[in-house]
Subunit: 104 residues, 2 copies
């Protein structure tokens, strides 16, 4: 993931609704959750949510699988790992700072 891609993904996570959606999907696990379920859980108007989901899918934060009428949204853990990796590798190597690993 390059500079532009990282910025784009961070920008998408930088919205409270979308961050909430992502967190919800991560809690939901690898099976993800259908749009309607997210909608009920977070109480966001359907059209607004749809807009946010499509933005998140556009940058690769989530994947969407259509199963008959319902669309299941799945968080892309890999994508987030890349993001985190970038922040650590590119942003934490100041003069007095190791690549950070034991920070948690």
């Amino acid at each position: 993931m390059d500079h532009e891609g990282v910025a784009a993904s961070l920008a998408e996570l930088g919205n409270t609704h979308r961050l909430a959606v992502f967190r919800f999907l991560v809690k939901a696990g690898h099976r993800g959750a259908p749009v309607g379920e997210i909608q009920k859980a977070l109480d966001i108007p359907a059209s607004t949510l749809s807009h946010h989901l499509s933005r998140m899918a556009r940058v690769g934060l989530i994947k969407q699988e259509k199963h008959s009428r319902t669309i299941v949204c799945i968080p892309d853990y890999h994508h987030l790992q890349n993001l985190i990796g970038f922040l650590q590798a590119e942003c934490c190597i100041g003069e007095n700072m190791e690549p950070v690993a034991a920070s948690l």
Copy 2:
């Protein structure tokens, strides 16, 4: 850092100019760099840069110290660590995923 704070910081990093500034400051190290130096290095108009810097300072991504005429900008490693920690702790604990540590 709470949900809102995380979103706000991610949003600030989610702009190519600001991400570039932050990366530049991290490379500059714990001493940081004066505004003019950032400006020359990244070739961003002064007023535009000033705007971005004030946004970054507002959410705590950087600190600004005034030394006579020049203002030195210093990246807040701690803040970024908190951000990364949040993403790992709150966003990577899906059913089939450990809290992730050996990802780098």
